[in-house]
């Protein structure tokens, strides 16, 4: 079996086995699983509704930003600089958007691999950048929104700095492995 096949198998088995293990352990220890499940599940609706104002505020702002073309404009300014240090300029929009929107990042990634050789350095760099990141703005909005925290203190700075470390490391590591 190839590495890819093993990973596929793990990905498919993982979720069902986690659920099966949790329920089996509970049943063996005489927990009324169905009743307890319903009891815990009741909070789901309330928590999700709490998040709506936070999500609307953040996603509207990010949608506006994407529609304005601001990211492309900033990327264009930087691209000449990047070409000088031998870094593909197409990567830049991905580096900008990945902290803001997960679906947009996947869209840009698809663009990059459609316009470049899939086995090229650029495609691999984009893959590493996408695979190593999480949508910082979304995570902060949902987690803080669910419990009604309005002052994030240093959380955004921390998240974005770690994202920047990720971007720089992506370039360094991709160079070592693929160019």
């Amino acid at each position: 079996m190839s590495v890819k096949a093993v990973i596929d198998l793990i990905s498919v088995l993982l979720l069902p086995s986690v659920i099966l293990i949790i329920l089996t352990v509970a049943l063996v220890r005489k927990v009324p699983v169905y009743e307890v499940f319903i009891e815990g599940a009741k909070d789901g609706v309330k928590v999700s509704f709490n998040v709506i104002p936070y999500l609307v505020a953040m996603i509207v702002a990010i949608s506006m930003l994407r529609a304005s073309g601001a990211l492309e404009s900033v990327a264009a300014i930087f691209s000449t600089l990047l070409n000088k240090i031998n870094l593909p300029a197409e990567i830049l929009p991905l580096a900008f958007i990945r902290s803001l929107s997960g679906s947009a990042a996947i869209g840009i990634f698809s663009d990059i691999i459609a316009n470049n050789d899939i086995n090229s350095y650029t495609s691999k760099l984009a893959a590493i950048m996408l695979g190593s990141s999480e949508t910082t703005f979304y995570v902060l909005t949902v987690y803080f929104g669910a419990v009604g925290i309005k002052k994030y203190r240093y959380s955004l700075i921390c998240g974005l700095s770690a994202d920047l470390v990720g971007i720089i490391m992506s370039v360094v590591v991709a160079r070592c492995f693929f160019s």
Binding site: I22, L156, G159
Partner: protein, 202 residues
Amino acid sequence: MNYIWYFLILVSIVFGVINGKLNEVALAIFSGTELAVRIALTLIGIMTFWLGIMKVAEKSGLAEFISKLITPLAIKIFPEIDKHNNVIGDIAMNFSANALGLANAATPIGIKAMEKLQEINIDKESASNSMCMLLAMNTAGFQLIPATVIAILAANGCKNPTSIIVPTLIVTGSAFISAILLSRFLQKIFPPQNRQEVSDVG
């Protein structure tokens, strides 16, 4: 957050004017609200399911078992949490779900941990150090296998999509560690605004 939110909207409108895309920016307001509600609606189902499963894990003692395994490490990263508080179990499971790439499970479990952290938080409007640390761990997006990216690469005819696993692990690992260190460092620069209240209590 007030300035950042304002800044995002200001930049959007200014660049909308410069790029002649003001109409698109206006339309994005409505598509954005729609997207936000759609995400929240999807969240309802996922949240409900995983909160149910987590309750079962809690009642069976499985959550406590995992919690005990991870406690020695957790109290180093979260020094402000009492080691008998069962929020440590939720944090451990949130991390595991993230590492295994089960994002749908990680979010509800993480939110449950946030609720427990909110209970021991003094200023209910402002994030505690522990909350910021939990979010630093989550925004770093540590993942053992980037399954989605591998799937996209494979679907587009990449010869060896799994070749990105090790490099991605190095990158995500270093981002994760720097997030934790940064959070520790930044909490001293941005102390809780209700310092007064804290010193009154203790």
